[in-house]
Symmetry: C2
Subunit: 674 residues, 2 copies
């Protein structure tokens, strides 16, 4: 049995740099404790308490001796020295973990490595035939990139404190170390400013973080080995600033908090010295509030319309020989970077800030792509990748996982240039994200990005990634994240009063579908969505990536890839098709009673009809009666039309590629019927 256990894969995510298995395991029982040797500090004690709390959550075991510092069955933590008072980019985050049947030892140079190592230890705890235990193992681990971030957009939808905190817990769990906090946008200015209180008072609908709360988040993050980089987007994306301070704008106002989504005209006046006087004071205040060395100034998506419409700005361009708005933005950006530097911070900006002559200190965050990032590195700029890591676009974990900051043209960089690529950041833009569903839009897929940024180059087994991600997903719910549990209450709201049969049909529908990808939702909405559009529809309740669809596709691939009829896979496929074929019928009555179910009816019907086509194909394969070319075309066309139909509900049917494969296999006769 011990051998059987030691062959099971370890559910560590991100994968460590080096893992060696050994015989036996460390039993976890009521006597488990964490002890500290070497350098000690309250932060380490708190990390130990967090670890014990999480052991309780994961195992349900009552830890009698919590807090005691002696005894068997302990995890001994040895720390060589303190880390920097203000966490810095590139500090040592490595650790070594040794687990034997007699105990466990975690060794790290500083508390950052300890925090990471504790998470690895927690991930190793598993139920076994004898109860909970940790397999004997030797792990040496360190990150591939020093900048591994998650950006949360608190501007478009305000994200409450407790949601921010539980996502910091999630980041700690997967060893991410930068929380990039997008704190202002057209739709909201979310930070209390004591120097300029009209910013948050008039620009936030009352939804902002107090300075006390921000200090709390910074401290909470520091405990978890996470730096907090604030972003105040300028000169565009700044309508919310102008509600209280129209004098900063290039237009004549008055301004209101923006309710719509998109790129808007309002932009700061880059030609007026009082803009810089204001920003100097504001950046100074924020530089004191956020201790991190880096300070994000945004800089993206200025459409220039307010500049073009303002004669004074036109005159300024002429007198300063600035030939276009890009040049004007470069001028603004340079001035702001000077202010950031004056307040002893290092600026970060989106791609657009990279213009000829910009100081090499700036860090470029690339939303445009790895090409731009590589080009910047060639020019000697440091950069972080976000293109390919936009979690709000609804991509699969596998697709994010395939994106590498050192992939594409960056692979051809010199070692010195590669050093300039600091890592990456996943981003969750919050047009269609609120406190209720944000966890599900971040997790568990963010764990795949975290692994890409931590684990050694070449870590690329997608099947292993998914298997470990599913286990980690369960563990994240014990940390308080709600990315799984949110769904049932949302479906209950959609269904209203229900019979179990109806509710099961609705859940089967929800778990088979995904929301539209990329930016399709704006296009498919019946009315332009705004910040007050309720996020209470099926599109808001479905998972971004359907596990059911992924497994169905795997089964279909195996089925159509086998030269003889795979009866087991056939049965699995038939079971799903049978369920989906009945979904629409089972929801008819409920759709009559509930507007929200009725809005999903086109997608429900599309899934049912598509499943019926797939079943026809399967029958044809089973009978050994291949479809004609005409029949094949007819059915593939029908499937495409059904995908379009699903978009009426802003949903997509992720099983369609698998259905198409069944139709193609049925027409090729490649699967024999015996």
């Amino acid at each position: 049995m011990a051998n059987a256990q030691s062959n099971l894969p370890l559910n560590i995510m991100p994968l460590p740099a080096k893992v060696e298995r050994a015989e036996g395991s460390l039993k976890i029982d009521a006597s488990f404790r964490v002890t500290f040797v070497g350098f000690r500090e309250p932060r380490l004690e708190r990390a130990g308490q967090r670890c014990l709390h999480q052991v309780r959550r994961q195992t349900g075991i009552v830890l009698l001796s919590a807090g005691a510092n002696t005894g068997a069955g302990a995890l001994e933590v040895k720390t060589d020295h303190e880390s920097k008072a203000i966490q810095e980019l590139g500090e040592d985050e490595s650790y070594t973990l040794d687990v034997t049947p007699g105990g466990a030892k975690l060794h790290a140079a500083d508390p950052l490595g300890v925090v990471h190592g504790l998470q690895t230890f927690l991930q190793l705890i598993a139920i076994s035939p004898d109860g909970f235990s940790v397999p004997a193992v030797h792990i040496e681990d360190r990150p591939r990139f020093p900048w591994r971030g998650l950006m949360i957009d608190s501007g478009r939808h305000f994200i409450p404190m407790e949601v921010i905190k539980r996502n910091l817990d999630g980041m700690e769990a997967v060893k991410m170390n930068v929380f990039h906090w997008h704190l202002s946008d057209n739709q909201g200015f979310r930070t209390e400013s004591r120097k300029f209180p009209k910013l948050h008072e008039q620009g936030s609908d009352g939804l902002y973080y107090t300075q006390e709360e921000i200090r709390d988040v910074v401290e909470y993050a520091r405990d978890r080995g996470i730096r907090v980089v604030p972003e105040f987007d300028m000169p565009g994306h700044s309508t919310a600033w102008f509600v209280g301070h129209p004098e900063l704008a290039s237009g004549s106002g008055p301004y209101q908090v923006e309710r719509k989504w998109g790129v808007f005209d309002p932009a700061m006046d880059p030609t007026d010295e009082k803009t810089y006087k204001f920003l100097n004071e504001f950046i100074g205040e924020m530089a004191r509030l956020f201790p991190d060395q880096f300070f994000h100034i945004g800089g993206d998506e200025v459409n220039g319309k307010e500049w073009d419409a303002n004669p004074k700005i036109q005159a300024f361009k002429k007198s300063h020989k600035i030939k276009d708005n890009a040049g004007l933005q470069a001028y603004f950006s340079g001035r702001v970077q000077d202010l950031v530097a004056k307040h002893k911070k290092t600026p970060v900006g989106w791609d657009e800030v990279l213009v000829p002559g910009v100081p090499k200190t700036i860090v470029i965050q690339s939303w445009r792509g790895v090409d731009a990032l590589a080009a910047a590195a060639k020019d000697g700029y440091r950069g972080i990748l976000s293109n390919g890591y936009y979690l709000d676009l609804g991509w699969s974990a596998a697709r994010h996982y395939a994106v590498d900051p050192l992939g594409g043209p960056a692979a051809a960089l010199t070692p010195e240039q590669k050093q300039l690529i600091l890592g990456g950041e996943s981003c969750i833009w919050s047009e269609y994200v609120n406190a209720e569903n944000i966890d599900s839009r971040i997790w568990p897929r963010n764990a795949a990005v975290a692994e890409r940024l931590w684990s050694p180059d070449g870590t690329s087994d997608v099947a292993s990634m998914y298997q470990r991600m599913e286990t980690e997903s369960a563990r994240l719910e014990w940390l308080g994240l709600t990315h799984q549990s949110y769904q049932r209450v949302m479906l209950q709201r959609i269904a209203g009063s229900w019979s179990p049969a109806e509710f099961d049909a609705l859940r089967a529908l929800a778990q088979a579908l995904e929301h539209e990808k990329d930016y399709a939702r704006e296009a498919s909405a019946s009315a332009p969505p705004t910040s007050v559009t309720p996020l209470n529809r099926l599109v808001d309740a479905v998972y971004p990536e359907s596990d059911v669809a992924r497994r169905f596709s795997q089964a279909t691939d195996l089925f159509v890839g086998s030269s003889c009829l795979d009866r087991v896979k056939e049965a699995e496929i038939r079971m799903h098709l049978a369920e989906w074929m009945t979904v629409d019928e089972r929801l008819q009555a409920l759709a009559q009673r509930s507007l929200l179910v009725n809005e999903a009816a086109p997608a429900s019907s599309a899934l049912s009809q598509a499943a019926k086509i797939a079943l026809g194909a399967l029958d044809a394969i089973q009978k050994g009666a291949p479809l004609s070319a005409d029949q094949k075309k007819l059915q593939l066309d029908a499937l495409s039309a059904l995908e379009q139909q699903a978009h009426k509900s802003q949903l997509t049917v992720p099983e369609l590629p698998a259905f198409q494969k069944l139709v193609e296999a049925a027409s090729s006769g490649s699967v024999c019927a015996k």
Copy 2:
């Protein structure tokens, strides 16, 4: 459509005293607001904010004008006057609610009625073909009993603050008005005492409520129309007191916090004046901390062994002509009641405190039964019923619902005597309950008790109760209760890493089973459970009442009750039986890997085998081939044996009575096969 909607039953729970439906409905959209006229106070404003928050949760609608006091689509709240500064037993809790398509009006004499009326309004919000709306209705409502309580035992397992608070939210939702807080027991003394800090410092394992937290709970409860009655159980159930204060005990000590469950020997020394000096100061401190008029002194389950073993106490009995330990307890109880009265409080005690000559002021809480309660009322004592409302025993909601404080012998009381029966309290004793699963042990069944205590005499439609309880159960999760969502994370812990097929089988098993009833768990445990026994087993994760089993029983009753073969019900029954028959097989591999699944294997096997027997019976009915008397006996015996087998996992198979009915129907030939 409007007519179809107006015929749907209203999901109000507890049922109001009087409901009249009208045509049309009030649409709930972004303009919804709550306005106040008449008496106003901050507590009412907070109630309005809570209502708006809950509208957001229930509908997902962004309320733009929250806080504004004008506009259409409003709920206007009219309050005549303030309620008592300290909420009193028997205050006016009535309200009138009128909803028309143009708006809603809630009218109440005081804020207590408002709080109840707001909950009714929230329960009326439903999804419709046009979106969210409230049906037009006229409601006049008032409670049947003035004392409608929930007791939570924080002694045996400490229940954290946030769990207490969310259960107060739940109580508000179903109009309960007394939170009885069991704050000390052998296993823990849970209240900070500033006069005697050794009580909580040495008697709680560090798990206690600070006085600040208690004041917070009292205020939180008051906002919700709930009184807080503290209980300090004495002279028995008091081991935890003696850890820091052995001088109070009748034995020689030393004492330790008790880890086991049961009735124990330690008891206060009723013969020593320093006991009363201590209690005088302690009760004085607690009387100031808890503003409610009532003060619970426990008084239950003293076994007298420490008294019998103490020569000084024996001498006291002799010198005071006290003939037995009941008399000694009566002496103690009388002294303590005097102290309670001295501190201007009214005592409450369990049945045992009712002895000849006890002052009529005391309120008797009956755990022994409605007979004792009626007898007390005949003698002029006020009483509240808890027998029949012990939620930890795992009874069905229907069984609790059938218990009436004025049922049995109480029905024969005079109207004046009936007035003395103040109501009832559900109780959750926490031997097998902790922060993780307590919500599921209280909710939704507690809503049935709440309805019994609020709704008019004669409210007794069990089917209606279940239907409304299921809807309310969903709503309670929006309030933050976790009585549904807790289960998946517990099952994930039990399963460890899993395949979806295995996890589905485990969930099907969990949802088909219930935990053992009454006090069977102590008997069936392999080792005596204690306060540090992990509550991480399947028995801790299953719902106390299986909805699946209840619906299956209903289907079976309809099937065996029909004179001809009901094909629809037959198909439903077969579907369930087929699933259960495979559960055990599907869990075989997982049981090899997980100790916690393996411990449930006897129950899993019992369910599978019993389902197979039921299927055989169904086949016999379908074939029109009745079972012989011998076959019938054999199979009924087998079913009984399987129930015993399930107890090895501390579980019970609630489908067994339905299975038995199928076997009986198969042998009687009462269902024809055509």
